[in-house]
Symmetry: D2
Subunit: 405 residues, 4 copies
């Protein structure tokens, strides 16, 4: 049904050596302008300001996730049996396209403009786009089915779990890839073993007992990457500034005080929500161009934030882990800071580890040699220890330092 390329395509990858493409539909998807757009969106926005090596794009990561999905199909016999050829294509394409709806500086973007990247991804897949055209050429249901995987509607539960669960091809690629580029010492995963031990049990993705150590190691790597890389205070500071810039732009546009022709695509999104053409224009190149432009604009708050962003005059930060409301008030009031100039940033078990890590523990299922199904924390004392003991939390006040100006 699905035609192969006459000659397989090869991408040289710094992590995996080579990434191979044999399916014509995958090759065509890579060539679409919406997928090529991912070259213009960095994977780690603020982090690259702290770890200078982490300048890789979502394009690299997306190819990597596709590559792991291909590995999973090649290594796990039971999947090859259970998934039809059509479903295998759905899996590979969904892996490739899962991030296609990310905006520029995605986390701040989503937060301020109230966009969810999963929704935008589905919109791009089903909208008037080159990606949609390609998919329709191969099978009339493909676009809708891939979108359903992205939105986790439950139509293809196995594929949904492989792409997005507590231990999936997306996370495995980004943890290792981000570690590689940041130079972190502890991001190497035993992906081969994890994939080899992956199996199905009553339509659920589970792992054989032989994977327990490799999964423990994966969860520890993840813990370390979060605290040392993703939550690095300077990286957070950069994100906070981005949010402030986005917020100021939003408010100026809404109040009719930003009449810059170049801001048109942001305006469209703000006013009309998702729209293919405008969304396509939104990438790091565009936003960086805006920031450079607005560093000369009349609005002093916006030009100030943009200038400091470009010259790396980051917001300062102070730990406010104890109930130091007074201290926070002192800093904010003492400096007469506007709402664009500070943020209290909680990173805690509550927001990251209950929501992510603890559930990870209960959701990763292990199939013992005797055929019993258990959750990881039932089997691994080290993971049980992690989930029952108090987990590190942190709360910081980020604020613009007057003395900068």
């Amino acid at each position: 049904m699905f035609p192969k390329l006459e000659r397989k395509k090869v991408f040289r990858d710094p992590l995996y050596g080579y990434i191979y493409v044999t399916e014509a539909v995958i090759s065509d998807l890579i060539d679409t302008k919406e997928f090529q757009r991912l070259r213009r969106i960095r994977q780690l926005s603020g982090v690259s300001m702290v770890f200078h090596g982490a300048e890789h794009s979502r394009f690299s990561h997306s190819l990597g996730v596709y590559s792991l999905a291909l590995n999973v199909l090649q290594e796990v016999d039971i999947l090859k049996e259970r998934l039809s050829e059509y479903e295998q294509i759905v899996f590979l394409a969904a892996a490739l396209l899962h991030d296609v709806g990310h905006g520029p500086y995605s986390h701040a973007f989503e937060h301020v403009f109230k966009v969810r990247h999963e929704k935008s991804t589905a919109n791009i897949i089903e909208g008037k786009t080159e990606i949609n055209t390609v998919l329709n050429q191969y099978h009339k249901d493909l676009a809708a089915d891939i979108a359903s995987v992205i939105l986790k509607t439950g139509k293809f539960t196995i594929i949904e779990q492989l792409i997005s669960s507590q231990l999936d091809v997306d996370r495995m690629d980004y943890l290792e890839r981000d570690a590689f580029h940041t130079g972190a010492a502890y991001g190497r995963l035993d992906k081969d073993r994890i994939i080899r031990m992956l199996t199905l049990h009553n339509d659920q993705v589970v792992f054989k007992e032989g994977a327990v150590h490799a999964i423990e190691n994966y969860l520890m790597s993840r813990y370390h990457m979060y605290w040392q890389v993703y939550y690095h205070p300077a990286a957070r500071s950069y994100e906070v500034m981005l949010e402030s810039i986005y917020k100021r732009i939003l408010d100026l546009i809404k109040s009719g005080n930003l009449n810059d022709e170049y801001a048109v695509y942001l305006k469209t999104i703000i006013e009309n929500g998702f729209e293919e053409e405008a969304y396509f224009e939104l990438d790091d190149y565009y936003v960086n161009g805006l920031i450079k432009r607005f560093s000369h604009c009349e609005d002093e708050i916006l030009s100030g934030l943009c200038n400091e962003f470009l010259t790396r005059k980051l917001f300062k930060y102070v730990s406010v882990n104890m109930n130091q409301e007074q201290i926070i008030k002192d800093i904010i009031d003492g400096r007469h800071l506007t709402p664009y100039e500070y943020k209290i940033d909680y990173i805690s078990q509550a927001t990251y580890l209950v929501d992510e890590f603890d559930i990870a523990v209960s959701k990763i299922l292990i199939l013992s040699k005797e055929g019993e199904l258990k959750t990881l924390d039932q089997i691994s004392p080290i993971i049980r220890g992690l989930s029952t003991s108090g987990i590190k939390t942190d709360q910081k006040l980020y604020y613009r330092d007057i003395s900068h100006e």
Copy 2:
């Protein structure tokens, strides 16, 4: 004389593990807006369209070159003796700043706008910039002396050779860093050994005989990186398109047919030559913003080129190694191509290897155990073989394919 930082600064680097800064002047230079601008200029412009991992910036590379310079000072006793503290600072700062004058998509930029990055680097160091201010704070001659190293005036011949010769800290960093990010199998250099064998002989940088194998390997890595990465036809095609875009913009501005407010900084450079403020604005963010903007402009040639650039519809290419003037003419005339739509690209011994490689051979000096000074090719039959035999040359015609439209 030169104050140390109270606490040394540390940068995590994917290649070198950690990069250390102990000198206050180096730390202050890194924080200037002109140095931070290098985060916004990719090291390998076209190459990243072929090797998706090669998305690193000149910022990463510049820190790397500084780090190698520091290694050289730590490992080579004779340099510590021969260079005064002041000269050591000149060396470190010149290593850090050597690329600060690069423009966006530098090679095409230099070629079209007739700017030499060494000249711009010197201008930035000596002009009205934060870098100049920092340097003056530490020593009144520092800016002029670092600029003289960049321009190779002969005032500090040893430092000039260490920074820019046939085997220098600049090349050692970029070859290995580019190989790392492209995923090339053969870029690993034995830098430790090369540096340990580096010594002085009558004020010339020479290498002890024990380095010969490591240098042979370095030259071979370089050869392979050129032919497989830097000269990759798709990367060249991308560069050719950039040149065409730059040329069209230049011609439109000169003829008064491009009245876009945002193009102001390019206009300044075209009309007035180097100017600090305008130059600072010129980075990948700016040019990419322009390209996105011009993809919607009225000039059909420019909008066409920009569109195809963004959607990766590269110029096609055909080998024209034999004297196929007729074939070239057929393609160009048959398609009625304007001068913006094709280029004959020579890569040959004549332009790259006589100018670079062969001179490398004669210029790398080896000090034998017996104290004799010889050129590398006198000692190494493998290098002699390389220089006397015919070296691969290549000539391609790159052209816009009508069927794209």
Copy 3:
């Protein structure tokens, strides 16, 4: 006082790139026959039968530990200030020599012949050996002082902690080196950071708070290396067989039933305890020669064990984690196994983790930014989780399988 080499010596190391020797005394120690003997003793005896890459010797490891000690002296300013030149030499030499007293297949050897390698190391350093001669040439107290560090007499407490504590140069080298050679995915340590954060506080080796994540990662790597590599059942089985072979030899010699001229050196050690000349002969080459020889000997138990050892017919194993005394009894009695043919092997928190890991937790001291001293588990919830939750234990019965014969 201590002369430098005219030209520093360089060893190429697969992990560290290059290892440098500048002190004449270190160079002379490496050249002694007792240190060279370590080339003939594998670092991981049984493990190499499971992880075929782990064939490296104690010689490699010992050079590595010396190299880390040198790094510590170079990076930690406070140590350079606090340790006299003499003490620095004591440190470097003790790091180099710390394993020089290991016997062949050391753990089984120590267990059966009641020898402690620390004691043997001290004996070699202070006995009639080339090592002792070298040390005396440089300073009359050197041998006694290095031996005192090995035996932890408390004379040089700082050096003792650097060489042997819960986080020391010995462990850092072997964890990473063993991981490298076994191909384990998770052995990479952030040694640079751990060493950079090392400092002194009231004559105690402590770590600055910035090292906490790197130390957490180190402890997790250690945990994984133990359970997946060092405690691998097939590796344990091999060790159990070695113990049986040693025990049988011991009993035959004691009962006068082993009259093999070649066994003379083992005999000497059994009858007289440590003796320089005999000890020097005891290495893997010697014991492997014995095993090959005894595979043809008359004693059927010994020849059987040796044969099966050489042809990798390992003892079988079965988990006896539940109180399955009956099962154990069935296997042993049912097969009429002699005491040489089975062993119950406990690996548990009690023997490994209370003794090693938990104490590690309480003993690794962290100096907070505010100058407070805390134990690691007070600061790290993840480590606290590890120490309070039940830790995995395991108990296996290893037994010779009759059906082999």
Copy 4:
């Protein structure tokens, strides 16, 4: 025909991550005592005395070669089509077993005792061995056919070329594996690409043009590994001493002056040629045991050589590249050296590079895009340069230094 394992076997490998075994016959071959014997023979005898990390065994290498053979079958479609299932098993088994006939310290062993390891390998495969028994269980012709591949009788020309030619799975594994363990900077090969570009043309193994750079890099790595690792003078010195020890043993046995019971297996080989049982006993363990034993023997020449070998008092060496017959004579006569105490060692183009390298050049065949078959040197100017220019040669006199004693 050939049964698969119920559950595939996995070996963790430091270079390749995991090595997989799915064929029952391969698994059974690995478990034979003759294959397990390779654990007791180091891959690089003398080299490990210079590069301490290079302590890996022929067992590791043999698994690696098997693993590459498996890759070749998986990646090269035309081979899967052209080779029957039976032939594929012949290929995999021959790759695994190709070194099974190596003796201890193989090069010296072959040279002195006039044994060829290919012949011994064939003898073991076809003789009364466990390997032969295993092969016969699976197919009656298997042993004879694998032996024919090892001996290159021309029955399976494609398989012969894949296993042993100028660019084969054997060389690719050992170059990269030896580089990995020695810590050499330049041994990384682009094996994936070389294998992907491998194809057949009229029953000849050839490479598509896209492999040219990867093959150039392979030949350069090989050149560097030879001169810097395999030909390292200290490693050669060690080999020369081994040869002298072997020669002395041979002469003493022949003249009836060595009556050591333990030498029985060497005696058998000397007197009767290949014999399964005796050959099985010959491994590093045995020879090292002999050397330790003979270091105490009565023959002064033998005990002296053995002692110096064990304590790393290597033969000295001096370059005799110019026709310095007089100098050689002076050293030998002046010291009254016996023939066991010196050797003139030629390493030159004549012995290594015409025989190996130049023929490599003419034998590696490249299939151009246009379907033309050319030799590598016709296509690659860099290789042409290598073959036409004079290649480095070296000649050294190795001699026992009287002052040692």
